[in-house]
């Protein structure tokens, strides 16, 4: 039975399944890249069968070290990070990390690179593996000095990137958008036009924190990405704007801390959602969110969780 964590009966009889970008999910709750490691780390806290799936830490072709410390900082209702895509590399991921996961777990790979070719090659590599349900392009890392944010911020570069990766894989292809843009809807349109199967939004918001005693930026990288509850209203706005603009499905990400928050994203048009920063503070929360969404659906008279998508009542006036 899905969403059984906590054994809620209030969610019984509700069909929790959703489809996102052509991927069948047992429920709409994914966990976000960079906040769920390679999945196994959560085994002590969470039944992986209680969530829809997860997006693994962004991968590069070669293993990659990140930025020097300090890499994180706390801010009001949020945190900054400047990890810079530290990862084991695609090979170790496919050979060591993936096989350690339960068969039934839906795994999405997140691809990162410094040029479209590297992204495409990575996508091709992970596509060969039968366990990869889909590929999320991280076009939006807000603190890698070269690459990363430029793709997510420039519609022409983004189009080029999506085109290259699309050509390299037949798997469900999702583009994760950067919030650090003037018109998020334009970026989503580019993805749709280039054949992406879905978009995830948002990645962290570019931000900064200062240590007043030392008169230095807190992060060694100076700039970092703001995540957590603080950014939720921004993410929600962007999901709503993108939902008005494109027909491809949306995965809502940003500051989700409970089922209510998740529902807000679905009502605004998201087909699935990702839990990010919350995984750090409450590594068992994602499963409860799945159950909570179903309970909400029932309370509101829906039979299928999937029907929550876009069910915001038309604004008055």
């Amino acid at each position: 039975m899905s969403g059984a964590e906590g054994g809620s009966t209030a969610a019984e009889g509700i069909d929790q399944r959703v489809e996102f970008a052509g991927i069948a999910l047992r429920n709409p709750v994914l966990t976000a890249s960079g906040t769920f490691g390679y999945g196994t780390e959560f085994a002590p806290f969470l039944d992986l069968g209680s969530i829809g799936g997860f997006v693994a830490k962004s991968l590069t072709l070669e293993p990659r070290f990140g930025n020097p410390p300090p890499r994180i900082a706390e801010t009001p209702a949020g945190m900054l990070n400047a990890i810079s895509i530290e990862n084991v590399g695609v090979e170790a991921f496919l050979d060591e990390k993936l096989p350690a996961l339960p068969e039934a777990t839906v795994v999405l790979a997140s691809a990162f690179g410094t040029d479209p070719g590297a992204y495409a090659e990575l996508a091709a590599r992970v596509s060969e593996h039968p366990r990869i349900a889909g590929i999320e392009i991280n076009a939006s890392c807000p603190h890698v000095k070269s690459g990363g944010i430029e793709f997510g911020q420039d519609p022409v570069l983004l189009a080029e990137l999506v085109r290259a990766v699309r050509a390299a894989t037949a798997r469900p292809l999702i583009v994760k958008l950067s919030p650090n843009v003037t018109r998020i809807a334009d970026m989503a349109r580019v993805c749709e036009a280039e054949g992406a199967d879905g978009v995830s939004l948002i990645n962290a918001v570019q931000a900064m924190e200062v240590d007043v005693e030392r008169r230095r930026p807190v992060l060694s990288n100076v700039l970092g990405g703001l995540s957590g509850p603080a950014i939720r209203p921004i993410a929600l706005r962007m999901v709503w704007q993108v939902a008005q603009a494109v027909g491809i499905p949306i995965c809502g990400v940003g500051g989700i801390t409970g089922a209510e928050d998740a529902v807000k994203f679905m009502l605004c048009g998201a087909s699935a959602i990702q839990v990010g920063t919350l995984n750090y503070l409450d590594p068992s929360a994602a499963g409860r969110i799945a159950t909570g969404i179903a309970e909400y659906a029932r309370r509101q008279g829906f039979e299928r969780v999937a029907d929550l998508t876009g069910a915001l009542e038309a604004p008055r006036g």
Partner: protein, 280 residues
């Protein structure tokens, strides 16, 4: 030598109950009842919520704080969980909120986390050096080493008497205890590295140094150990978001290049593994 052992116990996420929370010198002792606590190894830590749970979840401050398990008598029989103690200093918002926790309230907790200290039964003498809140990481280590039959000396260094936290507990352990204060208000006047150098000179190459405290202190210990060719284990502190290896926020530079995660590969490291220059 393998630098650290992995805990055999799987960590839990629990709602810990505050049993007591008292000022002791310049520090506070927090006793917690932790449901399904599996027991910890010396040197492991927990991630503890910044502030007690209430009907209202408040997202500021957002992140939990890492704290060494100061005392851990082990899990209670049955499914009763365990009682653990933390010893902490109020330095910022999170610890100030912890200080306001009242008995009966609950705090979210994840642990035990990290790799603890290696306890090798038939090894040589052990010199344990603690400074500041780092002292909290040494009590269970001292107890385990003593129980393993090792020759144990504990050296606690502090600025002043009120910073010699947990001192009474160490006295009861029946190991040799040396205290130093920089203002001479208790124990030997001066820095802990001075008596340490003497003891090191007394003991052989089989000696292991365990140092936990301010970075400068640990580095000084590492240098002394290096000079004597004895091994030195340190326990590092670093801001953490998760504590179990997924945020990658707690990285420290390795002497060979690259980074290690304090929460997963540490917090205990062989001092030679660390690129001390690269620490913030």
């Amino acid at each position: 030598m393998k630098c650290a052992i992995e805990s055999d116990a799987q960590p839990v996420r629990a709602h810990a109950r505050v049993l007591a929370n008292r000022q002791e010198g310049n520090c506070r002792r927090l006793s917690l009842g932790v449901p399904s606590w599996p027991g910890s190894n010396p040197g492991q830590f927990v991630m503890i919520g910044a502030g007690v749970e209430s009907a209202v979840v408040r997202r500021d401050p957002l992140l939990p704080r890492p704290m060494a398990v100061y005392r851990d008598p082990g899990p209670l029989p049955g499914a009763g969980g365990g009682e653990i103690e933390l010893l902490y200093r109020v330095v910022g918002r999170g610890t100030a909120l912890m200080a306001e926790a009242l008995p009966g309230q609950s705090i979210p907790l994840v642990g035990p986390l990290g790799r603890g200290f290696p306890i090798e039964a038939h090894a040589g003498p052990a010199l344990l050096v603690g400074g500041g809140s780092g002292i909290a990481s040494l009590y269970e280590l001292a107890r385990a080493l003593r129980n393993a039959g090792r020759d144990v000396v504990v050296l606690l260094g502090a600025r002043t008497r009120a910073d010699l936290i947990g001192r009474g507990d160490f006295e009861e352990l029946d190991v040799e205890l040396v205290c130093t204060t920089e203002d001479g208000s208790d124990g030997i006047l001066g820095r802990v590295t001075e008596p340490l150098a003497e003891r090191l000179a007394d003991r052989g190459a089989e000696t292991t140094l365990f140092a936990v405290g301010p970075t400068a202190m640990m580095r000084a210990c590492a240098d002394l150990a290096e000079a004597r060719s004895v091994s030195c284990l340190v326990s590092l502190e670093n801001p953490m978001a998760c504590g179990f290896g997924v945020c990658l926020g707690c990285a420290v530079p390795r002497s060979g290049g690259g980074f290690s995660l304090v929460c997963r590969s540490g917090p205990v490291f062989d001092a030679r593994e660390i690129d001390w220059e690269g620490l913030p």
